[in-house]
């Protein structure tokens, strides 16, 4: 018998899509029955009360969670988010209900054993509810009490060799796409670069010293499956600078219909016979492809590596061999001055361990932002406020036509004195000898 009636939430149990309500109810029931005799370290009815509180929000059309309190583990400034409900008497089980962010492994690969270990820990010391995963990428432990925070951290680090993730004004837990682990489009090892940057910058991740949050995301190719270009202050997008590799026999197999275009990703509708002219050559944004007899030709120098042709004919076309990544900076959601997309800072850099060249750019950007950024000013906002030129100066990167979509349409250039012949100091009396008042 459920502790609280939830008539509104119950309506979300029907329909085909996995119902979080059914899942919550199942866990509430399991905790009540407790078949494995767990000595729960937080209230046994925590999930019942979470359902009750959520039902109240569905009825009231508003949240019942208060602002976070300052809780955490010793020596870290992030990784734990304090959370208290505003109806503790009605729902004592969730009166204290803090979040812990657990740093996720690259590519979000797991073993069953590791998942069970986390579940054992979280059933004993927390609510048993999680997010797989949070928006930044962490495994989210949703709901425990203050006295359990150090205990959980101790067990994570001692038993499972596992650390917390970031929160607050620090480096947030970096995240990556699956990369070369299982994707032929990946231009670098996203799992390794993400892991290396996460570990090399543990201090920045755990101890807030930045003006505001800072996110790294690692995309293996311009398809951008982790949305780094929209969601990270520093976005690392794989690319190449030599030629797309062509298998002419496979091209013919696509034309002849033996191979399914788009790897069969459009199977739900009959789009008619595949036409390489219509579906590839005419849709190439730079018009750098053509057929010469039975041969597909690409003017690689003119290609901007949009991935369309490779996505359509993955068995015929492959990314080049001279691979690396582009770095874009300053993406963020709309708070406060409107959303920003990442802007290109480094067109190409090799992505090979130990990644010293990449770290040099990161650290120069951080030095500038920490010196010049205002409280709660994201990197993208600082770049807008001071100008892209300032970022180039701070990073020592030479201006390049690739940095802009188009040059400026106003001539209001902030010339520096040393750029102007003769400097700015002039003698007005000398001037007047030739120009009467």
């Amino acid at each position: 018998m459920a502790k609280h009636k939830t008539p509104l939430l119950d309506q979300l149990e029907s329909g085909p899509w996995p119902s979080f309500v059914s899942d919550l109810k199942a866990l509430a029931e399991e905790r009540t029955k407790n078949p494995t005799k767990i000595d729960f370290q937080i209230p046994v009815d925590v999930v019942d009360d979470l359902l009750g509180l959520l039902e109240l929000s569905f009825k009231d059309g508003a949240t019942h969670w208060k602002h976070g309190g300052i809780v955490g583990v010793f020596g870290y400034g992030g990784g734990v988010i304090g959370r208290y409900c505003d109806q503790p008497e009605m729902f004592p089980g969730v009166a204290h209900f803090h979040t812990m962010r657990v740093s996720q492994p690259g590519g979000k690969f797991y073993t069953a054993e590791y998942l069970r270990n986390l579940c054992d820990l979280w059933d004993l010391r927390g609510s048993g509810m999680t997010n797989m995963h949070g928006s930044t990428g962490d495994i989210i432990f949703l709901g425990t009490r203050t006295d359990q925070l150090e205990e959980i951290f101790f067990e994570l680090t001692h038993k499972f060799n596992q650390d917390l993730g970031g929160s607050g004004s620090n480096l947030r837990t970096p995240s990556d796409c699956i990369g070369s682990a299982r994707c032929e489009f990946a231009c670098y090892d996203t799992n390794d670069l993400c892991f290396t940057m996460t570990n090399d910058y543990q201090d920045e991740l755990h101890r807030p010293a930045f003006p505001y949050k800072f996110k790294f995301k690692f995309d293996g190719c311009p398809n951008c499956c982790v949305a780094s270009i929209a969601r990270s202050d520093m976005s690392f997008i794989g690319t190449w600078r030599d030629d797309i590799r062509i298998d002419q026999e496979a091209v013919q197999a696509y034309i002849g219909g033996e191979l399914k275009p788009n790897a069969g990703a459009f199977s739900g509708r009959d789009w008619g016979k595949f036409s390489i002219q219509k579906e590839v050559i005419r849709l190439c944004p730079t018009e750098c492809m053509w057929m010469e007899g039975n041969k597909l030709m690409i003017d690689n120098k003119e290609c901007n590596r949009c991935m369309h042709c490779i996505n359509v004919m993955p068995r015929a076309l492959r990314i080049g061999k001279d691979r690396g990544l582009s770095i874009l900076v300053g993406a963020k959601a709309p708070i406060l001055d409107g959303a920003q997309m990442g802007s290109l800072l480094v067109p190409f850099v090799k992505a090979e361990a130990p990644y010293e060249e990449i770290k040099e750019v990161i650290e120069k950007v951080w030095d500038w932002w920490m010196e010049e950024g205002k409280n709660r000013e994201r990197l993208g906002e600082l770049i807008k406020r001071q100008g892209f030129q300032k970022l180039l100066e701070a990073t020592g990167i030479a201006p390049d036509a690739r940095h802009v979509k188009e040059p400026r349409s106003n001539p209001y250039i902030f010339w520096k004195e040393e750029e102007v012949e003769g400097g700015w100091t002039r003698d007005v009396n000398e001037f007047r000898k030739h120009h009467l008042r």
Binding site: L9, E13, G15, P16, W17, P18, S19, V21, S22, D23, A26, L27, Q41, F58, D60, G61, A62, T63, H64, G75, Y76, S103, P105, F109, Y110, T111, A112, E113, Y114, M129, T130, N131, M132, G137, F153, E155, H158, D163, S180, C183, E184, D189, F195, P222, C224, A227, I229, A265, G268, P285, M307, N311, P314, A333, P334, I335, L336, A339, M341, N375
Partner: protein, 381 residues
């Protein structure tokens, strides 16, 4: 319950303390076929929606079955995922960046039993636990935020509208009939932990009433200068107020200048905005993050407000379903929703999707607004 110590000694927090070790290394968790063929994959192909395989230079293959799931997930369900991973996949599994779960096997013969097993598992209430799909030219799982289940600033719920929307879009999760992939995202407030601003369709929670002022507690709970500085439109100023015969330090809000972003509330809990009638949903459309054919784009506001209709948000899901169906029938192959809208023109988009165009949809926020007005005669009747 008796307190069980982990070994941590609160009197000596630094004793045996382990810190700064980071996440577990990725390759500890790779399935053997991934570890062997990493960096040497040749191509991939879909067998059916949700099922695909990759072929490596070595000739090895890996078959992946992708299933949708709620990102709000119990240990009970995670244990079931682990059980399936043990039963079919040698104890390995992974999650995608969009809250899907991927089960991988190294032999085509293992695919059908795995799919059958996954599709047979249902919750008590009747919904699928592990629906197979979410690949190719269809709709995959919705990335989203916490909502009413765990956040202090939301203007709508997250898990509820996501469940309601995915129920309505379920056929397109199981099918690949669309002209291109279509990504739906939800953020329960403007902070956008879910960063929905570059999605084909975005569901965004939004407040519409200025903050209330809890004068009695404001100066006690908040740093007033931080609350003032937090306002992007300079609508907040310091004020002295009379309360219970006392003069208290507080703030005044110029309601006309408020854009309801909630940034003041983030800095000052004594300025709550949430409201049953005021809060609701903004629908945005036409964004993308991929560089394929055209540059990444922001989503545009196409519906200024829809009320929070818990538990199933019928108006929100109806607008989304309509947009998806019109796009499916009207767009050319490979056109993302935003590319289609740009080709036919946004005036045609509103007409075809039967959405009213109101003054709320014309940008009036600072400089970028000008660049969204039409500086040409190139429009359609």
């Amino acid at each position: 319950m008796a307190f069980i110590s982990s070994g941590y000694d609160p009197k000596e927090p630094m004793k045996n303390r382990i810190t700064d070790i980071g996440p577990r290394k990725y390759d500890e968790f790779y399935p053997p076929v991934i570890a062997k063929n990493k960096g040497a994959w040749l191509y991939h192909e879909y067998l059916q929606p949700g099922v695909f395989f990759h072929v490596a230079e070595s000739g090895d293959k890996i078959y992946t079955v992708r299933v949708g799931g709620a990102r709000l997930m119990s240990t009970l369900l995670i244990r079931e995922v682990a059980e399936i991973a043990d039963k079919h996949c040698g104890g390995h599994v992974r999650w995608t960046t969009r809250n899907n779960i991927e089960f991988m096997v190294d032999d085509e013969k293992k695919v059908a039993p795995l799919v059958k097993d996954l599709e047979s598992r249902k919750f008590k209430g009747g919904s699928f636990k592990f629906p197979v799909g979410g690949t190719g030219a269809g709709i995959t799982n919705i990335v989203h935020t916490q909502g009413w289940v765990h956040c202090h600033t939301p203007a709508t719920d997250a898990s509820g509208p996501v469940k309601a929307t995915m129920d309505v879009l379920f056929d397109d999760f199981k099918n690949s009939r669309l002209p291109a992939k279509l990504r739906v995202s939800l953020a329960c407030c403007l902070n956008m932990c879910g960063a929905v601003h570059c999605s084909d369709i975005a569901i965004l929670g939004y407040h519409r009433k200025p903050p209330m002022l809890d004068h009695e507690y404001l100066d006690k709970m908040c740093e007033i200068p931080l609350a003032i500085a937090a306002c992007p439109t300079a609508a907040i100023k310091p004020a002295k107020v009379e309360f219970g015969g006392q003069k208290l330090n507080s703030v005044a809000v110029n309601n006309e200048r408020c854009m309801f972003c909630g940034n003041c509330y983030t800095m000052c809990p004594a300025m709550p905005l949430a409201d049953k009638e005021g809060d609701g949903i903004v629908i945005m459309a036409g964004g993308k993050v991929s560089n394929r054919r055209s540059a990444p784009k922001f989503s545009k506001v196409v519906v200024a407000f829809l009320p929070n209709e818990a538990p199933r948000w019928p108006q929100t899901t109806a607008v989304i379903k309509k947009m998806v169906d019109v796009y499916a029938n009207d767009a050319r192959k490979y056109e993302r929703l935003g590319e289609w809208a740009e080709r036919i023109g946004w005036e045609r988009f509103f007409e075809k999707c039967e959405l009213p165009f109101t003054h709320h949809l014309i940008d009036d926020f600072r400089d970028p607004a000008y660049y969204t007005w039409r500086q040409s005669t190139l429009f359609k009747f």
